[in-house]
């Protein structure tokens, strides 16, 4: 322990930490912008400057270490003025269009400017003018809004290891862009949307479908069908200023009906279905028919990542479509038949925690009878906005139940939203399908939690099955390279593209004024919301879902049948976007 002085008061603190870290623990929140605890230190924005006695210049507290006897001032008149000038200079090259901006009221720069006491603008200089990149199916890049904090560049390279973004040019002309300034859609971007989550402004936002959806909801000739992903219910409350961790399943169902949907289904139903297909596929492979380890295929960002960076592992990946695409395929076939409707008259809308699902919906491989199965994907954020905009009181609405036949789910379908959940759900079913006995201890702790790579073992009928789980594409990279070197190491692997799994998806509510994107405490609470729903269900195994059983009896036959293959399975092929780098990815 060493002694430092902050604003003339002595404090005992640990050595080997930065001024900001020490100050945080002591209750001094030094203003900051480019800093993020999960990312490397950039020191780019200079907002977190403090005065250190004896130093000629102010130092960036995010990067400067404490030392014995150090005298630090965080809030003198001069520091306040310097900080305010820095933020003003950032604002000076930022569009003055807050009231029409997607992030109005939810922007870190706006909050910071307010906190710095900027009430009048002193500088007036040149502003940058660039075209927005609207090419991607999921993520819009608007360099005009960018303040060059570099969080997007760092999350893309350090956490996701995709390296789609870099700084190009220099000085005033610096722009964050993909290699060769190519359109986003042609780049290696996996559309995971984590850049949106960490962006303090709206330099990255999702492609917004709210207006189009409002318009279609008013079209009386259409049959409007919605589905909700597990993680949406676990997080949407945060967009309504609730503390993380409160699930709003029934309220959301009611709200979607009030928005104008004729049927509200649950992606958790098709998650159960995914498990029936995926567990059966795993057991086939385990018995020698197909390549092991088998890798899950639910995450759309992972699908794109696989095709670009790991084409050699395509045969390892399950052919199962994602739950969203399974549900949509059934909506336009099984369900259309049930209600005797022309599938072309059905509008199939997916409410997802994910930006990559917008990309997935457009994958030509997922067409059903020449139709796009999922017509529109909206993120949790877009949905929250629509509910507010339509004047629906989500928090005080009377809860309602999902519609049949695609609305009932087991607890296994619920936990799909959390890292490790798909694996846990698959094991609950695979065990019983293989042994004929019921697995009693169904909560598999080894693969729960937020550790980047989790491993576990279980014994089915005397045979050991080695499993592994990774969330975030950077952690996935670790497991996938292990598989390349040692294909025998695992039998079954779950990969989710986003940190925390779908609960940490690129379409989830922005962090509030007291939290940070990627905050583990928040992710844990969202996870607990889903685990709680699972615990409260009587049916917690996918194969016991009566509606799934009925679907097989009436329509599909059995798992992996010809009909299942037509509607519920897909395929992948290698893709080589220009500017790709292969094999061993390294963070830059």
């Amino acid at each position: 322990m060493i002694t430092i002085f902050i604003n003339d008061k002595p404090y005992k603190v640990e050595a080997e930490q930065t001024i900001m870290q020490a100050a945080d623990k002591l209750g001094f929140h030094i203003p900051r912008l480019c800093y993020h605890p999960k990312l490397s230190i950039e020191g780019a924005c200079r907002v977190c400057i403090v005065e250190v006695v004896g130093m000629r210049n102010y130092v960036a507290s995010c990067a400067y270490p404490v030392s014995e006897g150090m005298k630090i001032y965080t809030n003198t008149e001069e520091i306040r003025r310097a900080r305010r000038d820095i933020v003003e200079l950032i604002l000076d090259n930022h569009p003055e269009d807050c009231h029409t901006c997607e992030r109005d009221g939810n922007c870190e720069l706006q909050r910071l400017a307010f906190a710095m006491g900027i009430r009048k603008r002193h500088f007036e200089g040149e502003k940058k003018h660039y075209e927005k990149d609207l090419s991607s199916a999921s993520v819009i890049r608007d360099p005009n809004k960018c303040i060059l904090c570099g969080r997007c560049v760092r999350i893309c390279s350090e956490i996701q290891k995709v390296n789609a973004l870099g700084y190009a040019h220099r000085g005033f002309k610096t722009v964050v862009m993909p290699a060769y300034n190519m359109p986003f859609k042609d780049s290696v971007c996996t559309t995971c949307g984590q850049c949106i989550n960490v962006c303090p402004t709206s330099a990255f936002i999702e492609k917004n479908f709210t207006q189009e959806l409002f318009q279609k909801l008013g079209d009386k000739s259409l049959i409007k069908v919605a589905q909700i992903a597990p993680s949406v219910r676990a997080a949407i409350g945060e967009a309504f200023a609730l503390e993380p961790g409160r699930q709003l399943e029934k309220e959301l169902t009611a709200a979607l009906r009030k928005l104008g949907f004729d049927y509200v289904f649950d992606t958790q139903f098709s998650a159960d279905l995914t498990i029936m297909e995926e567990a059966s596929e795993f057991l086939e492979r385990f018995q020698g028919k197909g390549r092991l380890p088998m890798i899950t295929s639910c995450s759309s960002a992972w699908m794109k990542c696989l095709e670009q960076f790991y084409p050699d592992l395509i045969d390892n990946v399950s052919t199962c479509k994602s739950p969203m695409s399974m549900a949509s395929a059934l909506v336009k076939s099984y369900f259309a038949k049930k209600i005797n409707a022309d599938p072309k008259k059905i509008l199939s809308v997916a409410c997802m925690c994910c930006t990559a699902k917008k990309y997935e919906a457009l994958r030509p491989e997922l067409m059903v009878d020449g139709m796009q199965a999922t017509d529109i994907v909206v993120t949790t954020r877009e949905l929250a906005w629509m509910i507010k905009s339509a004047g629906i009181d989500l928090l005080h609405i009377k809860g309602e139940e999902f519609d049949h036949p695609l609305g009932y789910s087991s607890g296994a379908g619920t936990i799909f939203g959390v890292t490790g959940g798909v694996m846990e759900a698959a094991i609950r079913t695979a065990y019983e399908l293989y042994t004929g006995e019921t697995l009693l201890d169904i909560e598999i702790q080894d693969i729960r939690g937020l550790k980047g790579v989790k491993e576990g073992k279980l014994v089915i009928d005397g045979k050991e099955i080695r499993i592994a789980v990774a969330h975030g594409l950077g952690n996935a990279n670790e497991i996938l390279n292990t598989i390349r070197k040692d294909p025998q190491r695992y039998h079954f692997v779950e990969i989710m593209g986003c940190p925390g799994g779908c609960i940490g998806g690129g379409g989830q509510p922005y962090a509030g004024s007291n939290s940070l994107p990627l905050d583990e405490e928040c992710l844990k609470k969202r996870a607990e919301a889903l685990y709680g729903l699972d615990r409260n269900k009587t049916i917690r195994r996918s194969h016991e879902n009566p509606d799934v059983q009925r679907l097989y009896k009436e329509f599909l036959g059995r798992p992996l049948s010809a009909m299942s293959h037509k509607l519920l399975h897909t395929h992948y092929s290698p893709k080589q976007p220009p500017g790709i780098i292969p094999a061993e990815l390294s963070a830059k």
Partner: protein, 160 residues
């Protein structure tokens, strides 16, 4: 596309192999890009992708380095480079008119290359030939006491 039997790609690859044996191969990036530019005259996307693959450095990062330094050309250069002196003496003697006539004739601006790939236009700030102002330099030859008409005649002579 880069032809596999191209001597230049063989040389670039050899250069990179050597770079990889050094302590911090990543830090050799700038010298590798210099080498690529020396071989091809500019940095094509194909060349940068080649460097990315061989050195295992993300292309977004290479693009960042290539666009940061003015020295790197991202477009092929013309057969001849025309430098128009905009130094004080030339400027006073009418360099701007000369520049405008060249711009119009070749339909290019500074840093750009004419569509027939013959000329790349550059700006110079004094070529040390103020007595001959206004001057232009084509490749390493200086032409002085110009009028717009004379300048265009000289350029025409390079088209043959």
């Amino acid at each position: 596309m880069i032809a596999e039997d191209d001597k230049r790609i063989v040389e670039l690859r050899t250069f990179m192999q050597e770079a990889k044996t050094k302590d911090h191969p990543d830090s050799q990036l700038i010298s590798i890009l210099h080498k690529a530019q020396e071989l091809y005259g500019y940095l094509s996307q194909e060349a940068m992708t080649e460097v990315a693959k061989e050195m295992n450095i993300p292309t977004a990062h290479i693009w960042g380095v290539a666009t940061f330094y003015h020295y790197f050309n991202l477009k092929p250069k013309g057969k001849h480079s025309i430098s128009v002196c905009l130094g004080t003496a030339c400027y006073v003697k009418g360099a701007e008119e000369i520049l405008n006539s060249i711009r119009e004739e070749l339909n290019i601006d500074f840093g750009q290359t004419s569509s027939d790939n013959l000329f790349t236009l550059q700006e110079a700030r004094c070529l040390g030939a103020c007595g001959l102002a206004p001057v232009i330099m084509i490749d390493d030859k200086i032409y002085g006491s110009l009028t717009p008409k004379k300048a265009l005649e000289i350029i025409k002579s390079y088209k043959k």
